[in-house]
Amino acid sequence: MKLVSREHGRLVFRLNSREYDALRAAVALRSHLTRRRRPLTGDTAVSGPLRGAEEDLDEALKAHRDELTTSVDVLLTDSVRCALQPRGVRLLTLDTEDANLLLQVLNDLRVGAWERLGCPDFEAGERPEVNEGNFMCLWAFQVTEMFEAHLLDGLMGED
């Protein structure tokens, strides 16, 4: 994945066919990499109106996750925004909103894979052993990290 141009808030990336296939495969893993419940407050004994708000957050995040998956599927199969070039190359054109959608999906996948791996602290040197049960999570973790880095590069270079 390579940033080809950045003009007027539009980012254009070039993906070869393997990169495109990997991106699609990673996005397709979303239904298998569900996320842990995330609290609204740091307080474990939530009561009263906050309990309702906690449930609202849960529902909002689930609905948002579904919407994101659909939007990104549409984006990656759109013949204009993800135009097919000779030799299977794709030119992915993203405005800031699309880039943020894709970034959210990739990070959600990355965090979902990390949670499934038992939340290892990679910075502290923790490395999960690769086995049949987790190799897909390790793959998703690495692949999404790579795409995320390219997207962030493009987005942060906007200033």
Binding site: R35, R38, P39, L40, T41, G42, D43, A53, D56, L57, A60, L61, H64, N100, L103, Q104, N107, D108, R110, V111, W114, C119, P120, D121, F122, E123, A124, E148, L152, L155, M156, D159
Partner: protein, 101 residues
């Protein structure tokens, strides 16, 4: 025309509160450190959600990284809840807590 502030449906305003102008309780939006989200990513999310410039976003990102948490803003409940939702949509660990005084 001046907009008139209407109470939410189901909200009961006691006359004594209305006349004293009782302030809505405030909440802190807190972002917590985690070992998964990259510093560059966190900075980008703060800028996107709050519209901050890079310097301010980096200051809060470093607070999260070095002190374990950063108070990002202080708001009434609905706005604080909105910000927590936005931050969690980007998979950051954000919570709200009563501001106290």
């Amino acid at each position: 025309m001046t907009p008139v502030e209407m109470p939410l449906p189901g909200t009961e305003i006691r006359p004594d509160e209305a006349s004293k102008g009782v302030r809505e309780p405030e909440y802190l939006v807190v972002c917590w450190n985690d070992p998964i989200n990259a510093m560059l990513y966190v900075t980008h999310v703060f800028r996107t959600v709050f519209g901050w410039d890079r310097k301010k976003a980096e200051k809060h990102m470093l607070e999260v990284h070095e002190q374990g948490r950063s108070v990002l803003t202080r708001e009434g409940f609905e706005k604080a809840e909105f910000y927590v939702h936005q931050l969690q949509k980007f998979s950051l660990q954000a919570t709200l807590e009563p501001a106290g005084d």
